[in-house]
Symmetry: C2
Amino acid sequence: MSQKLGLLTELIDALCCLPGVGPKSAQRMALHLFQRDRGGAENLAKVLQVAVNTLQYCKQCRTLSEHELCELCRSPKRDEKTICVVESPADVWVINQANNYKGQFFVLNGRLSPLDGVGPEEIGLDILEQQLETNKVTELILATNATVEGEATAHFIAQIAQQYKIKVSRLAHGVPVGGELEFLDSSTLAHAFTGRRIIE
Amino acid sequence: MSQKLGLLTELIDALCCLPGVGPKSAQRMALHLFQRDRGGAENLAKVLQVAVNTLQYCKQCRTLSEHELCELCRSPKRDEKTICVVESPADVWVINQANNYKGQFFVLNGRLSPLDGVGPEEIGLDILEQQLETNKVTELILATNATVEGEATAHFIAQIAQQYKIKVSRLAHGVPVGGELEFLDSSTLAHAFTGRRIIE
């Protein structure tokens, strides 16, 4: 893109900050917005500007929200005795959609990764510990991802919680619903065997 | 996404207006912007807002520009005697990058497609005809795509230009540079044979 083209080039460069968007898709997006969907462009600009000005991390659960306390933390209907610890705000949405879990959340916005300089404070474990200290919480559900780093993070948080004698649980591993045993990896299958449940 | 999540949900919906972006990628984009690249989000919001307010079609060549007349049309260095007709502003950029073409452009922002209600006026042929009437133009280069609709559009414009006795040319078809004959379609190969050039 030549320097001459001014604003459109600037817009294309700006769109490249989106994940998975390179110069060619950014160009296609910019042209689409201004040739076929100007209303969409206007709306996107407005919402994005509002979001930049107001989105922040919820003081209590560290999810992204436009308020100091997010909707879930403000809601009187949520059970304050359980906290579900997740890695990302997206996990909060998934759990809320799939589940009738009614407790609170705590969003790490990352996972422990000492080599990348991500220690306990970077993922807000000091804030979580303050909440555990109040003695309101009776169960901590660790719903970090089932990756090596996610497991390590869960293990670390479990140790903290046990200092306060809080019950700690981890999401069950096993056969996905609708999944076929034939295609399951051996590690998951081993977990499914160990975690088998008696049919009563 | 539940109704509860407010602004982030709105942003995700707004991002879905981008071509090739569904709810899942929009969610990934929104989280990426606000967790890892807030500066990028801010910049994107600003540039997009400016673009929405100022981008318009250039009066002369119908490309997208923030001015009434685009940079290329204002530039005194461009040769006014040739006009290159293309389907999209992206084509202008590609030609400018690849080429030492120094004439003017005319952007159709589409192609003739009577079934979709796209007639000559929708692609600005009345404006092009006014420019041909002035007798300044000596050659019209038809650089519409080599698709059926692109060819039909080129044919239609050629007929108009010939009324004003203006020389009309069409981009050459042939073997792409670096291409292997083995993988070339027969139609392109036929064109390459007909258009063969004597080596002197």
